[in-house]
Amino acid sequence: MKLPVLGLVAALTVVGATWLASSAAPAADSGILYTFRESPLHALGLKNLDELRGTPIVIDFWGKN
């Protein structure tokens, strides 16, 4: 019985690591790197945060409620 459970844990670990890598990845020495899965609203063609290198970015985390 232990084998399927271990397999599930391993699979979840891989999925979790992949998700983390695709969402928020601090670069080793060059700041935050991030590729949007879906283009932000009013993105004007922006795909990666890295494309804004040279411009300061203000990230406002907010909630509607």
Binding site: I32, S39, L41, G45, L46, P56, F61, W62
Partner: protein
């Protein structure tokens, strides 16, 4: 009004504000909410994706990334005081200068690049022919290539006026830098094609509409009616869809 909206309005293209909705609110609902609160029409971007983790101390939370992409400030915006504006102002100033640690002999190249003269910047690097000058040249070319690619994506998303403006800047900047100038010429040819004329008109109409309604009462019946009529007029374009979306957003009940 969130301070970040004011920052985007105050600094324009010198700063990029990114709003990240963190409460799993559906896109339509938070977009309608932002229109209703008169937060639209200023160049800020909106998403639900978090480019970096929050500190977990509650919302709202603000992070400032410097021109090198590093996190300079992060926390509750009310705790920053003058530090927020001072940090942004300092980064904007830095953005117009050579990066910290640039060898003295490369300052002229960076200065030319900062003024939008890529050809002069490259010529300066070629003259020096050192490892540092080669790295600087590669950086100039990479940044310019990224802008060309972004302009192409602007065309795809219907942001033709912004693509026109960026292409004009790139044309001036790459004059004399043969490879990149050729790519910009291709971009300009695409922008001049007849099939983009209708999209350009629709894009101008949407920008004008947004300017008119964003700071008043966006979802007033008169504005919605105007959007409906513009959606019909610009049917078949991406900006026509934006008018349709505005009409749909106006119908969302935000009290539910």
């Amino acid at each position: 009004m969130p301070a970040s909206v004011k920052l985007q309005e105050q600094y324009g293209d010198d700063v990029q504000v990114l709003f990240v909705e963190c409460q799993n609110t559906p896109k339509d609902v938070y977009e309608a909410f932002a229109w209703k609160m008169k937060w639209m029409g200023n160049g800020a971007m909106w998403t639900t994706e978090r480019p970096l983790s929050t500190t977990g101390s509650g919302l709202p939370e603000t992070a400032v990334l410097g021109i090198d992409g590093s996190v300079l400030l992060q926390g509750h915006p009310g705790d920053f005081g003058k530090k927020l504006e001072e940090t942004i102002a300092a980064e904007i100033k830095k953005s117009k200068q050579a990066p910290a640690g640039t060898p003295k002999e490369l300052e002229k190249a960076w200065s030319a690049f900062g003024k939008g003269d890529l050809a002069a910047a490259i010529a300066e690097c070629d003259k020096l022919a050192s490892d540092a000058s080669k790295a600087a040249k590669d950086e100039f070319v990479a940044r310019t290539t990224a802008k060309i690619e972004r302009a192409k994506r602007m065309i795809e998303s219907g942001d033709v006026v912004a693509a026109d403006a960026l292409a004009a800047k790139l044309e001036k900047s790459t004059k004399g830098a043969v490879d990149l100038a050729t790519k910009v010429a291709e971009l300009k040819t695409k922008l001049a094609s007849p099939e983009l004329a209708a999209e350009r008109d629709a894009d101008k109409a949407f920008a004008s509409f947004t300017n008119d309604v964003a700071k008043k009462k966006p979802f007033e019946p008169g504005n919605v009616k105007r959007a409906e009529s513009l959606a019909k007029k610009h049917e078949g374009t991406k900006n026509g869809k934006r008018f349709e979306r505005f009409v749909a957003l106006a119908k969302i009940d935000l009290n539910k």
